[in-house]
Assembly symmetry: C2
Homo-oligomer: 414 residues x 2
């Protein structure tokens, strides 16, 4: 099949969509369940309905648009991603997966193609996790990882409940948020890393997702005056934290071929120029495609936290707040994506994703795979996030062909 | 002279005064020019006037209470400290120096003692510098270090001007804030360090104050996603900052006998668990009694900042925001304090102050010295700050005797 999506229509929608919550520096600010997120959802539902999709909103605000297949009894092919953003995040992250799914539907509509299976396009709630933690909440609940009441009771920094905010913006739907029978799930997303750009390829065939562990950690020392307190009598929570930052860097550099480690968040108290830091709260993020490597690194970091505390005479705290095993995507579906790229003559890189995605949870429900497109300079989660438009179109075409390959399958080959 | 102050009266006033802005954890929250600071000032003025002191408020809100001497033409003996606090600071810091000065006046009043010289008690504005920087602003302006308009234009984090806030609380006085003829300045203060407690002495005879330098520094790197960004492609502003925190610790440990170094404040952006830190703003505080040692340490730290930036591929910023030379107090006045302690049979330690004090600026105007009393566990600038009451009384008595020795001098021995 040589059919391709409409670059112009997709571009027009992409630009219009990203006027919602647009920032001065070229990004978007549409955190989960914000007013801007509501306007984005409203626009999406309007476009879904205009494309003839039957819209369903579930208890967690996940939005599904369904295009019928010849056989309504067959489990659908699901495509999608998310439309919530980081605080002052980028315009591509999540958006291209959802609008790309819609574009596929429009392309099929225009061509008058009926598929054997229904096709559904989904926008998952709260993927980013910047306002409500954990991230990937909507897809996680859908996959049975979180229950609905747990999600409703989550609060943001201002104390607003997820459930109340969902109600406020009008997206607390009636459909149950729970696993259901799906033929497969396909997600188009920006890579958020440098590999495709380095390879000079427009498309990435994603074979899986790194596992990761998150720690919330802290040191509690003593807040003495920075002048009269001799060096040998200090219990400086920031010095201990710096030891751990250095250790995480060293462990990540030597603990495994693909291991990455980051201290991303540090909060110092009292945080004054002339007071020895009494308490520092910080986070550790460790990832690898090899779960054993993550486990070994986690152990090393915990030991380093204990060592740093002992050296400095401060009290350590360390809590594992998230642990997700690495996900290997379905071999056959991965090959469907690779074949789609071959059909289109698109050179591609096979890779695994360092970032978590809704696809990580969907992989527990049904055969799952992803299509990546390059991130210029590997940059993501910032307003400077950028992907060449021809790459977005190439990725959407690969998605189209993969969806068609799955949705067109005759019912009797099941 | 065997006269001593009234422990009970001083204690009663100390407790009553510290009900103003009292915190649940036993400290006080009376930052400069806050409503609580106004109430503290109002109480002080009321008590000054009740003790017969003539109150003057200058352009910067410094409050002077004057007790006449036999000879009104002689420059006065000035005693005092400050009554603004850290955010959630301690009850002793500054307060004992001002209330101690008032107690001396009450003691002289009760005994019917007339001194040759006038005695003035002062409460300096904005010593702590937590709301408006720089600290020691009132005494610094009095000493000619800052001009009045500079002080008025300082703003707090909410953008409130110092001049407007001073007006708002009713303490923008008419008296010029400028150096004038003073016989000497004596300040009683808590040590804020561990030396007196370690020596088991109630009194410290302070021979001078450390010099110090403050840097505002920053690293600017790249905010990439913590998952897909390989370790070798990171420009992590927090890793560079941690290098500097470790370097400051090492330099302080080896750069001079009394050198201390602190990174007290760190602000990370975007400060998210799964984003590589793009920018970190941090501070460096270096102190020694030897200005050359401070200078050498400052140079080393600046080099380390450059090295860390080079290693991590981030852009460094470093600005010296404060540099105060060490102050050696007047030898004769220091001996007056030591003699007063001897007279009272109080064992004392001679030491220099690691913390800056209003006395540091007054030392530029007139002969200056200080009396320290111990800080339990060396703790200060926190709600847990504590000094044994008998030590406060001992220090106030030393102050009384030193003041009397200076104020009673016959005019013709000048």
């Amino acid at each position: 099949m040589d059919r391709t999506v409409s670059s112009d229509r997709l571009r027009e929608r992409f630009d219009e969509f990203n006027e919602i919550g647009a920032t001065d520096r070229g990004g978007v600010n549409r955190p989960s369940l914000s007013d801007a997120n509501r306007r984005a959802r409203d626009t999406l539902v309007e476009w879904f309905e205009a494309a003839g999709l039957a819209v369903t909103v579930d208890e967690l605000g996940n939005i599904f648009g369904r295009r019928p297949g010849r056989n309504a009894d067959l489990p659908p092919v699901l495509v999608g991603s998310h439309v919530d953003s980081q605080f002052n995040g980028g315009r591509y992250d999540g958006v291209i997966g959802v609008l790309g799914g819609l574009e596929i539907v429009e392309t099929l509509n225009d061509a008058g193609i009926e598929t054997e299976r229904p096709i559904e396009v989904v926008a998952w709630s709260n993927e980013e996790g910047v306002r409500f933690q954990p991230d990937m909440l909507g897809s996680g609940a859908f996959a049975g990882k979180f229950d609905v009441e747990f999600a409703y009771d989550l609060t943001d920094k201002e104390g607003n409940r997820f459930g109340d905010e969902l109600e406020r913006i009008g997206y607390r739907g009636d459909a149950p948020c729970e696993p259901r029978d799906l033929h497969c799930y396909l997600e188009l997303h920006v890579e958020q890393g440098p590999k495709l750009e380095a390879a000079g390829h427009s498309v990435g065939v994603v074979e899986g997702v790194y596992g990761f562990v998150w720690f919330d950690a802290a040191f509690e020392g003593a807040a003495d005056h920075a002048g009269p307190t001799p060096m040998h009598q200090r219990h400086d929570a920031l010095v201990a934290t710096s030891d751990v930052v250095e250790a995480v860097r060293r462990i990540a550099g030597t603990g495994g071929e693909d291991l990455v480690g980051t201290v991303g968040s540090v909060d110092v108290s009292p945080n004054a120029i002339n007071v020895i830091p009494e308490r520092v709260d910080f986070t550790v993020d460790l990832r690898s495609y090899d779960d054993d490597v993550v486990d070994q690194a986690a152990e090393k970091v915990q030991r380093e936290i204990a060592h740093a505390a002992g050296r400095e005479g401060v009290d350590p705290e360390c809590e594992e707040v998230m642990r997700i095993e690495s996900q290997s995507f379905d071999d056959d579906l991965v090959e469907t994506v690779a074949d789609a790229a071959d059909d289109l003559g698109a050179a591609y890189t096979r890779l695994v994703s360092g970032a978590g995605h809704d696809a990580s949870y969907l992989n527990r429900v049904c055969p799952t795979a992803m299509v990546f497109v390059p991130s210029v300079d590997g940059v993501s989660h910032t307003e400077g996030e950028f992907t060449e438009w021809e790459d977005v179109v190439a990725g959407t075409n690969v998605l189209l062909h993969a969806v068609l390959a799955q949705a067109s399958e005759a019912a009797d080959v099941e």
